[in-house]
Subunit: 224 residues, 2 copies
């Protein structure tokens, strides 16, 4: 089903400047996708044949090893594209990463043919795609820095702040937080307990409330 271009293109300023011919090529073949929370967007055994642009909601991209260890690589929000499906389209390579929607997601899918066509015709489109690549690459490099050299306290504090965004309360279990930072539940539990003793957060079953962001921010910044 094709869509009126104006609706969703608004969410992608970089694409709004495409010449009219390319814009109509986009609009003519784009498919609306509507996914519930918890849907799999991409998995090693289930490659995705489309170029996906996220309009609303978020997608969590993570790795899972044979032992069941999980670590979050990055998140895609409105205005982002899924670079792993893009690379899979272009490079015929498969990944060990998973992508799952965290909330209901509205997205637009471009068929591979349209995608290839635009990559050839529009330098704006190319730079849009490459900017996304570069951002994801930077995300991965930041994850490497963190898991290799940052303390759990630093990583936990900064992840709490990032997940809370503006809200002061998180609905998340200790096990999920452990998967966020690539650590173990017990370790996260213990650190959260000390955060609570210091009055930085208060805890409930499946719930973390930030009570004092300032020291959390300081802990997130501290090198060690």
């Amino acid at each position: 089903m094709s869509l009126p271009a104006v609706d969703w293109l608004r969410g992608f300023p970089a694409l709004g400047e495409l010449p009219e011919t390319e814009r109509s090529s986009l609009a003519g073949t784009a498919m609306a996708m509507s996914l519930p929370a918890g849907a799999s967007v991409f998995a090693p055994d289930q490659p995705c044949g489309m170029f996906i642009l996220v309009c609303s909601g978020t997608v969590r991209v993570f790795q899972l090893d044979p032992a069941g260890n999980e670590i979050v690589l990055y998140r895609l929000g409105p205005g982002s594209i899924c670079i792993l499906t893009t690379l899979a389209l272009l490079a015929s390579d498969s990944y060990s990463a998973f992508a799952v929607t965290e909330s209901p997601v509205e997205a637009v899918g471009l068929p591979a043919a349209t995608f290839h066509d635009l990559m050839g015709r529009s330098s704006q489109f190319r730079s849009f795609v490459f900017n996304a690549q570069a951002a994801r690459m930077a995300d991965l490099m930041a994850v490497i820095q963190n898991v290799a050299f940052a303390s759990i306290e630093t990583r936990l504090a900064s992840r709490l702040l990032a997940l809370a965004a503006d809200g002061r309360e998180l609905s998340i279990t200790h096990a999920q937080l452990a998967a966020e930072i690539g650590s173990a539940r017990e370790v996260v539990s213990r650190h959260l307990k000390t955060f609570e003793r210091r009055g930085w957060v208060s805890l409930g079953r499946g719930r973390v409330e930030l009570r004092n962001a300032a020291p959390l921010r300081a802990a997130a910044r501290s090198a060690h």
Copy 2:
């Protein structure tokens, strides 16, 4: 200085199939680069304005944090391109990564204009670039898996095997090995000592000799 196309294009099978017009565009503007061992190819404060193809030698790409911790992200060998300079060309983003030659390197640099032109004109060239992107992305994801979940023994054994390639002897210090796997020198020293006690390697100052690859391979494969 331009080069005879046949010389260096041979190292890039994916580019050999370009149509004649694109091939001559490549050959006409390519610059030969010759770097000694230990030269900086790319650094956060010293971005590189060219698209670089490595013809011979290897380049080590690594991250360095303010505390001086180092971790190797991946290596570029003959036939690879430097994706970070590519992304920097295309995405106007800067990275916290460093790239240093490990041996004398012969390379070919394409000016940004030629690169952009080819990206627009040749789907083969695009897929060459995207394949490289995908490979680097996979490298980073493997690094994340390793630092997050693999034991030092596993990481050290597999790195020794990878660095040795066919040769049985490595010229490398414990500190360099620690930087390879993102750990600390003392930790590497201790594990190497136990490897030696088990007869897997023998050690000398700045030297590791592999004496029994089979158990090393087993250790490298073991999940834990």
